[in-house]
């Protein structure tokens, strides 16, 4: 199943790798490198199936929460849209918070990135979202 996916990632290489991977799978992929860009895209896109968010969007974001806030916003506004979090420096605590408080669909760490698992996760999220929207 093909889905509409937004990737929010400040590292260009990761943005390109992930979007490249998913486009090759046939998904309709948009990218954003900042929070602002991401918000704008979410506002104007009604049928977004999945957002892939980097938790720590800005290097100087000490609270690690920019991505989290966006996750929360998406969850509030678009209940059908699924969210997958990725992080470059994830602690167990952040991971738990993402799942429990912000109801993230899946969670990936860049230092132990498994592309097969990622593809699978994306596929499942898109399927769930589409199912819910029907």
């Amino acid at each position: 199943m093909r889905g509409k996916i937004l990737i929010v990632e400040d590292y260009a290489d990761w943005r390109d790798l992930l979007s490249g991977m998913l486009r090759r799978e046939g998904h309709d992929v948009a990218v954003a490198s900042t929070l602002q860009e991401a918000r704008e895209y979410i506002q104007k896109t009604k049928d977004l199936d999945l957002a892939i968010l980097d938790i720590r969007l800005v290097e100087t974001d000490e609270t690690n929460e920019d991505g989290m806030r966006l996750l929360f916003q998406i969850h509030e506004q678009k209940s059908a849209t699924r969210v997958i979090m990725i992080t470059g420096h994830g602690t167990m605590e952040i991971q738990r918070k993402a799942f429990r408080k912000f109801k993230t669909f899946d969670f990936f760490r860049k230092e132990q990135f498994d592309s097969e698992e990622f593809r699978k996760g994306v596929q499942e999220a898109v399927e769930e979202s589409v199912r819910e929207r029907r």
Binding site: Y11, D13, W14, L17, G20, M21, R56, E59, E62, G88, H89, T91, E93, R109, K110, E111, Q112, F113, S115
Partner: protein
């Protein structure tokens, strides 16, 4: 009370000479002499005379006058007549004044006796004054010496020793003790003592509440004076032969309401003589007690300042350490984030290339060569990620600190360690230990040490893992000490020096293990140390600051 003044210290020789000349002239006699009475030796010595080529009276005459304390007229048919009067001040005999006249038929009338007696009284009174002066001088000297010690020394024990030494000397006591009051326990703790016979038992004796003279002084906060303590049922006998006793309280009255005196201790002196002390001694001891109070206050103040200084310093060090760790934590997180982003992408990208390659038609040689290089890139990138993880591990923010019961954590670590049944675990845990505030990773530290111990004992015939925990108090701080000992191979002495350094390559690791432990424990405000001898195992000791009361 003391009398041990020599005749010349007691009487000015010129004064004595004047008196014996006056007596000769006033009574119109041939000659006059004055005997000095030494009560210790019970001996009278002629110390001044006027116009006495030889002694016409009986040699025992002065002794008889002293013992009877009466005027004696000695007459013999063929010898000169003599008149002897005692020089006495309040029952205290000082000497005998004797006049003699060889004129036949000389008789001493009442007026003569009165005149001579008044001269003798004058001598006694002067001797009394001299003695008082001498005593006061000695007291002033002693107070001066103590004052010098007070202003030049903060060593309480030294000053108290000196105060007791001077007190004993000035009042002529044989035994003395100075006890400091401990308001927490209510005990009178022996600080310094004087005299013979202080056995281990006597030294260890601490009077119980309501017991003995010192407690009477403690309760009533006023001096005690007894001329015969054997008659006082309150007395607790430490030294059998003691008869007189005097004790004063150490009261801090400065700047306080009279009824809010701070009681600091008791100064007690004893003598084997009956009625050895008088009111003047009490006054003197009161003054010395004041000096002791000042010494105790000085020392307490000094100790308070010192402990405050230490506390401030420790707090400052702690604050600096927290700042340092926070800064390093931020830097490490930032750096780890960057490395993970930059290097984490390498294996992910390599995998994509692998996949794309599998769908591409290529000569086998070329494909092998590309894959071989891709594997190399991937492998090295993964190694860098592993290194980065190990390096930043101790600096990672691990969330808020949690209060732990160390014994519980040790048990948890033991459970996770999956120890073989052949390994004997001996636990000796301290009871009711204060908790420690630490990162939740503390359990991993214990687990790592236990796992290390397990590995060290793998090929050993005897394997025994000993885990101890206890609490140590250093001043106001409490430390939780955990010891993990094994009976394994031990650590060669050549390795001990660099044990905690990075890259001390273990058999199957990156060489970060002990460095991580060390850095992590330091971050928790603790310390870790190791003792080991080859073939005799190793002991790792962790000290962590304990928090709050034992109940918290």
């Amino acid at each position: 009370m003391q009398h041990d003044l020599t005749p010349t210290e007691m009487f000015d020789p010129y004064f004595l000479q004047t008196v014996v000349q006056q007596a000769t002239e006033l009574l119109n006699v041939d000659g006059c002499g004055f005997y000095f009475w030494d009560p210790a030796q019970r001996q009278a010595t002629l110390v001044a005379q006027n116009n006495l080529p030889d002694i016409p009276w009986d040699q025992k005459l002065p002794y008889r006058v002293i013992t009877s304390q009466k005027t004696i007229v000695e007459t013999h048919p063929h010898r000169p007549v003599s008149l002897a009067v005692p020089a006495v001040w309040h029952d205290d005999a000082r000497g005998v004044l004797v006049v003699t006249d060889k004129a036949p038929g000389r008789v001493f009338c009442d007026k003569d006796v009165k005149t001579l007696q008044s001269l003798a009284d004058l001598l006694a009174s002067v001797s009394r004054q001299t003695q008082r002066l001498a005593r006061m001088t000695a007291q002033f000297r002693a107070l001066h010496v103590i004052d010098i010690a007070l202003t030049s020394s903060l060593q309480l024990d030294r000053v108290l020793d000196l105060i007791l030494e001077k007190a004993v000397e000035l009042v002529g006591a044989e035994h003395g003790s100075l006890r400091q009051f401990n308001p927490k326990t209510g005990e009178l703790v022996l600080k310094t003592h004087h005299g013979a016979g202080w056995t281990r038992e006597a030294l260890a004796y601490t009077p119980r509440a309501g017991e003995g003279i010192v407690h009477w002084v403690t309760e009533h906060r006023r001096p005690y004076l007894s001329s015969d303590v054997r008659k006082d049922p309150r007395n607790v006998v430490l030294f059998e032969d003691m008869r007189s006793s005097v004790a004063v309280p150490l009261l801090n009255t400065q700047g306080k309401e009279p009824d809010a005196d701070e009681f600091l201790g008791v100064l007690l002196l004893e003598s084997s003589r009956l009625a050895a002390f008088d009111q003047q001694d009490v006054e003197l001891l009161d003054a010395l007690a004041q000096e002791a109070v000042i010494a105790i206050q000085n020392a307490t103040q000094h100790q308070k300042l010192q402990s405050m200084h230490r506390k401030l310093k420790a707090e400052q060090e702690k604050r600096l350490a927290v700042e340092k760790w926070a800064f390093m934590g931020q830097a490490a997180t930032s750096l780890a984030h960057r490395i993970n982003n930059l290097i984490g992408i390498v294996p992910a990208s390599a995998k994509e290339v692998h996949q794309a390659l599998s769908k591409t038609d290529l000569p086998k040689d070329d494909r092998d060569w590309i894959e071989e290089n891709l594997n190399r890139i991937e492998r090295n990138a993964r190694f860098i990620l592993k290194l980065s993880d190990a390096l930043f591990r101790p600096f990672k923010e691990t969330g808020p600190l949690v209060c732990f019961d160390v014994n519980m954590l040790l048990n948890k670590a033991l459970e996770s360690a999956d120890l073989p049944p052949t390994l004997q675990v001996i636990r000796s845990y301290g009871k009711e230990l204060p908790k420690v505030e630490s990162s939740p990773l503390l359990v991993d530290i214990f687990l790592e040490l236990i796992t290390n111990a397990k590995k060290a004992m793998e090929d050993q015939s005897r394997s025994e893992l000993r885990i101890r925990s206890r609490c140590e108090s250093v001043e106001t701080e409490r430390w939780i000490v955990v010891e993990i000992s094994d009976t394994g191979r031990g650590i060669p002495s050549t390795q001990m020096e660099h044990l905690w350094d990075m890259f001390q390559q273990s058999k199957d690791g990156l060489g970060f293990g002990l460095w991580w432990l060390h850095t992590f424990i330091e971050r928790q405000g603790g310390k870790i140390s190791c003792t080991s001898r080859p073939k005799q195992g190793a002991t790792f000791t962790i000290r962590l600051p304990g928090i709050g009361d034992q109940e918290s």
